[in-house]
Symmetry: C2
Subunit: 370 residues, 2 copies
């Protein structure tokens, strides 16, 4: 696999053994992270960012790695998450393949990669691992925990498992539980990988790699990360130049197909298929309602925060807007000064990554009031 751990990534050791919610444990596991800014003497300016499924910890350029990160326009000096004021920590999720221990990591007990011997991963395990990074950095309290997409789930798990650790929360295009449409999409992505003969029950290597399954999974992901309305304006029915078209009679013909193809090519072989399966399934399992006997709103209301912001967009079909609204309402019922903000971005679930013109002022404005 292509090397996918950015230079300058730091690693926090997790307690060994590190026990998982559903059983099993890891020995000598680590969580990858990066930081921006400086922790204030009183330690009151720390922000934790929990990202989505695929990002590494390099959210933006910093001293140890000047390359732009995946949230470059959001994070830095003078930017919405202003690192002149805030000390920001971003982790790579537990179970990923971009620095944190995951199914592609070597199990020190056997000397071989975990593959399917990796324990069943839950969102809660990732939240507990992120807590250990804060311990390593000497952070006793967070000004804010920000969670995007899967990280939104992680942030809610973090708040439920570590009461009192965060003063505020920004939920970005996340959800308090997986709903059946999203479960169906993710189940289908996992099935495409598992049906690829090269997946071979997780025993692939670089030569026999489940490229076809990963292609389908990624393209289906991109279809659900964006929106039909955006694509109507962006691609319409524009066709490829004839020189870009393939001989294959069922090959690429429309611009939108080339766009998906480009995304697939950039993703395949940069993300480990087994890690993808574990992280994907952890989202399907996540359900805040479990923390209050099946009552989702009661579980959210058990979280104590000073302030909260829950943001999403109308065009998100994977983490639909009503789920961000539920989070805002539940946290308000728990006593937080809780805002819900529905943005008009056409870009669907991915809007928080690309529509900084809308998401930036929302996030920056909330942080400025802290």
């Amino acid at each position: 696999m292509t090397e996918t751990i950015p230079p300058g990534t730091r690693f926090a050791r997790l307690p060994s053994p590190f026990h998982f919610k559903r059983g099993g444990s890891l020995s000598g596991a680590v969580l990858a992270y990066e930081t921006w800014g400086e922790l204030s003497p009183s330690g009151d300016n720390a922000i934790l960012i929990l990202p989505g499924l695929s990002p590494n910890a390099h959210a933006a350029a910093n001293a140890s790695n000047p390359e732009p990160g995946w949230w470059e326009a959001m994070l830095g000096p003078g930017k919405p998450i202003d690192t002149n004021r805030w000390f920001v920590v971003c982790v790579n999720p537990l179970g990923s393949c971009k620095g944190s221990t995951g199914a592609a990591s070597v199990n020190p007990d056997t000397g071989r990669a975990y593959r399917l011997d990796f324990p069943d991963l839950s969102i809660e395990d990732g939240a507990r691992a992120a807590r250990e990074v804060l311990r390593e950095l000497g952070i006793e309290r967070l000004a804010c925990v920000i969670g995007n997409s899967m990280g939104g789930m992680g942030a809610l798990a973090f708040l439920l498992l570590h009461p009192g650790l965060a003063r505020s929360h920004i939920q970005v295009s996340g959800a308090p539980q997986a709903l059946p449409f999203s479960i169906a999409i993710r189940s289908l992505q996992r099935e495409a990988i598992r049906l690829d003969p090269n997946w071979n029950q997780g025993l692939y290597d670089d030569h026999a790699y489940p490229e076809n399954g990963m292609r389908i999974a990624r393209k289906l992901g991109v279809v659900t990360y964006r929106s039909a309305i955006e694509w109507d304006g962006r691609f319409g029915r524009v066709r490829l130049d004839s020189e870009c078209r393939e001989d294959d009679p069922f090959g690429l013909e429309f611009e939108v197909e080339r766009y998906l193809e480009g995304h697939a090519r950039r993703f395949v072989r940069t993300f480990d298929p087994n890690c993808y399966l574990y992280l994907s399934r952890s989202m399907d399992w996540f359900d805040v309602a479990e923390y209050a006997g099946g009552d989702l709103m009661k579980a959210l209301a058990s979280i104590r925060l000073e302030r909260a912001l829950s943001i999403g967009v109308h065009t998100d079909i994977l983490f639909p807007l009503q789920q961000q609204e539920q989070v805002a309402e539940g946290l308000r019922a728990g006593g937080a000064n809780s805002e819900f903000l529905a943005l008009e971005s056409p870009q669907g679930h991915d809007a928080f990554l690309v529509d900084i013109a809308r998401f930036g002022p929302a996030i920056g404005g909330f942080l400025a009031k802290l």
Copy 2:
């Protein structure tokens, strides 16, 4: 493949050779159809139904086949399409594998199945083939042409290619052109089939059949045929009983996954993969705008009808409601008494098949006024 041509299906011979829009031709081709009711002495009561991608011609029980059909609640004596009054013809689309000539049919010139030697299929070819069924039945004018989904595209092609042949039109969850989100979904379905090693450039057989590709294609289809809102209420986060779950650690766990699995099992090996590829691509190619130099509304307005009804639902993500609205507006601009009806069905694109409580009165009411 499982035998999929219903008993009682009738066959109209197409002119031989039957030339295709994009070149190539068929010899000795047929179109499968069924009928209900009686043609009136003046021939003024004929209705043509053009179905979606997968149905056969057996829309409902009739004298030659008492088994219920795929639109059983819509079509029959006293039903919304009342066969006591109307003489109804339903075809199986050209290029399908359920009676009409398609890629799985034997090419009489070679004695072997066409497979990828089948000519490039356009929606217009299917519309011209349906015209031949009317000729065989002695129908000189249609009271109405009804098109569902892909058949909605077919109906618009029929009206453009055969001016004056129909007095009225009902467009059901169809579209005047393919838009990029739908193209992306269909492209991905076709890619899943083509990536299956058993597809083998179309040279599969019953023993080496692209079952995995067809499973993914069908499940992705079902995801886009229904709606998230329907599934929230229907499946929620309900899990399978442990006895239904598989040993496979990434196997079925939620009810929604079992639902998709059931759909896949019923579809795979009852629909020919090459036929699926041809029909799917024909939808991506279809664009009414081609009939007026790229001006979609002008092309629609060139169609002359007395009355038209265009129906769809808010929850349809594959043939979105604004496309049915375009059809209604375009036909109105062409002089028709043209209605647009947005129904509240939660079932998404498939609603016309299952929400007869809403679609029945809409279609029946329109026909009653003819």
